[in-house]
């Protein structure tokens, strides 16, 4: 145990430095773990891979209609867990020309006896089409409050990009409606709610 550094053939090296480098790596990788969240979002936004359609689309050029072909756009709706609203598309599907703005409506009704706030989360399939589906107006940009018994028709205006790859002939847009009153409660009230896996 009396080894002095000069006993070693290698030049003396400091543990502090090695530990420092390693800790740097640890902190960096921990940060990288979190950085994967925004990186993934950016990656998805560029490639559209997870089917999350983007925010409001602002076009600078006047939309140009592609008369030569039509694309079928289907609309789906489902409720998130424990969401009692009636939620459905008014129109099940439309044939659109790429480039033209189209308006359709979703119907929502709050059948309960309490005022509720909902948030619709969009998802598009095939995900390859995500980049070519632009929403200029969508109820999913905002939360939707409804009084007890109240119903509403919620508009969606979209344009299918005329650059949509030829082999895509059908797009399916799906909305899942989540109860936003529950969500915060999920967290504050999580002790109880989280048992659903065991028993619910």
């Amino acid at each position: 145990m009396t080894d002095a550094p000069q006993d070693r053939s290698q030049p003396p090296r400091s543990n502090t430095r090695v530990v420092g480098w390693c800790l740097g790596g640890v902190v960096g990788m921990f940060a990288f773990g979190f950085a994967m969240v925004p990186l993934y979002d950016v990656f998805c936004e560029i490639t559209g891979i997870n089917g999350k359609t983007g925010g409001r689309y602002e076009s600078t050029v006047a939309a140009e209609r592609d008369e030569n072909r039509t694309v079928q756009v289907q609309f789906l709706a489902q409720n998130g867990p424990d969401m009692p609203w009636t939620f459905r598309p008014v129109t099940r599907s439309v044939e659109v020309h790429p480039g033209e703005p189209v308006t359709i409506n979703y119907f929502a009704q709050n059948p309960t006896d309490r005022a509720m706030v909902a948030q619709a989360v969009p998802s598009l399939s095939p995900s390859e089409g995500t980049l070519y589906f632009h929403k200029t107006e969508c109820f999913c940009f905002n939360q939707q409050p409804l009084e007890p018994g109240e119903s509403v028709e919620m508009p969606l205006i979209f344009i299918v990009d005329k650059d949509l790859p030829e082999h895509i002939t059908k797009l399916t847009l799906s909305y899942t409606l989540y109860d936003q009153d529950v969500s915060p409660a999920v967290s504050s009230n999580s002790r109880v709610r989280k048992t659903t896996n065991d028993n619910g």
Binding site: N50, R92, H167, T172, T196
Partner: protein, 374 residues
């Protein structure tokens, strides 16, 4: 070869364990009934045989060494410890094999991803622990629950042939048509798998996934949920019935009619007895998993319904619990999972079964009005 392997396996099994001579010693993947599943099967066999061939060579050399180069046999060790040529060769050759393997795999994958030009579109939604099938173009949909009884699972009665793989309402698809499946989930991630189709896709809450299949042979095909989704993950089978086009068309017409009739049913005058009969069935498929067939529940997570205050007294509260669920607990909102008739039947059943003799009933119409109350 498959037959031989099977026979060899059966023979070996029969010799080792005579009692199991009835056994179903399936050793290999089945080719399935779709183009995709057949392509996958041939990929599977190719890669398997490549592995077997490599294994024979490598283990052959190894066993030869073990056999011939034993110290106890007087073997003298050589002293070589590298050979550049050999080392380069056994890096390159596996690489080439892999490239050869990657080509058909890529082709199959591209084919599996081609969901265009579908004839039927079905939305598949995973719930804890059931599937829901919505025929998008046809405007109807239904839940598909496992129909194996708790008695079979707990070994109280003999197990039926399709133990754990039977459902009340299977998905129905036409033979020869391209069926596009859109998958999502309500609560946690599920995964929809039918081995005979070579189709497996995750159903992810809030997101929609798609895949497709074209079934060539009529029949009933069974699969299971393959993503751990909680307590009853093992009890949410997938059953698909492939029928000829005409039969399918007829079935669709019936379903649409049934959906219409269901709406009318809510207007019919129901008696307590009728509701009890229907309620028992609905209770068994929707409630018994947690609250138990005899209403005893499993407190504290699942309260007993037998003798429960809510069930015996406050009808309004009972209705609210069943329709809207109880947020913060395991009780789901059944308002959208069951139709009005079943809701009324279940509530009536709960209020009159297992000694809960309230004599009270609620009609589907009342449920309908409750759900739509202003």
């Amino acid at each position: 070869m498959r037959v031989h392997a099977k026979r060899a396996g059966a023979l070996l099994g029969g010799l080792l364990f005579p009692a199991w001579s009835m056994a179903d010693w399936t050793l290999n993947m089945a080719p399935g009934v779709t183009g995709t599943s057949n392509e996958i099967f041939s990929l599977h066999m190719t890669i398997l045989w490549i592995c077997v061939a490599i294994g024979v060579v490598v283990f052959g050399v190894m066993f030869w060494s073990i056999f011939a180069h034993r110290k106890s046999q007087g073997a003298k060790p050589a002293n070589f410890h590298e050979n550049t040529l050999v080392e380069i060769l056994w890096t390159i050759i596996p690489f080439v094999i892999l490239v050869v393997m990657a080509i058909p795999a890529t082709a199959t994958l591209v084919d599996m991803y081609d969901t265009t030009e579908s004839d039927v579109d079905i939305k598949v939604t995973g719930y804890q622990w059931r599937w829901k099938y919505d025929y998008i173009e046809e405007d109807f949909g239904y839940f598909s629950n496992m129909s194996t009884s708790r008695d079979e699972i707990y070994n109280r009665t003999a197990k039926s042939e399709n133990y754990l793989l039977d459902v009340d309402n299977p998905m129905v698809v036409p033979v020869g048509a391209k069926v596009r499946l859109l998958l999502t989930a309500n609560d946690v991630i599920h995964s929809w798998w039918v081995p005979a189709f070579g189709v497996k896709k995750d159903a992810i809450p809030g997101f929609i996934n798609e895949t497709w299949t074209r079934v060539d042979e009529p029949g009933i095909y069974r699969g299971q949920c393959t993503e751990l989704c909680g307590k009853d993950h093992g009890f949410m089978p997938v059953v698909v019935k492939a029928v000829p086009q005409e039969e399918y068309d007829q079935w669709v017409a019936e379903q649409r009619e049934a959906a219409e009739r269901e709406r009318e049913l809510t207007e019919k005058d129901w008696t307590l007895e009728e509701l009890m009969v229907r309620g028992e069935k609905a209770y068994a498929s929707a409630c018994a998993a947690c609250h138990q067939a005899d209403g005893s529940g499993a407190p504290p997570a699942f309260p007993a319904l037998k003798g429960s205050q809510i069930v015996l007294e406050d009808m309004e509260a009972h209705l609210d619990v069943v329709v809207n669920g109880v947020s913060g607990t395991a009780m789901q909102a059944f308002g959208e999972q069951l139709n009005e008739v079943d809701l009324a039947a279940v509530i009536t059943y709960e209020r009159n079964a297992w000694g809960n003799d309230t004599g009270e009933m609620i009609t589907p119409k009342e449920v309908f009005e409750y759900k739509n109350q202003e």
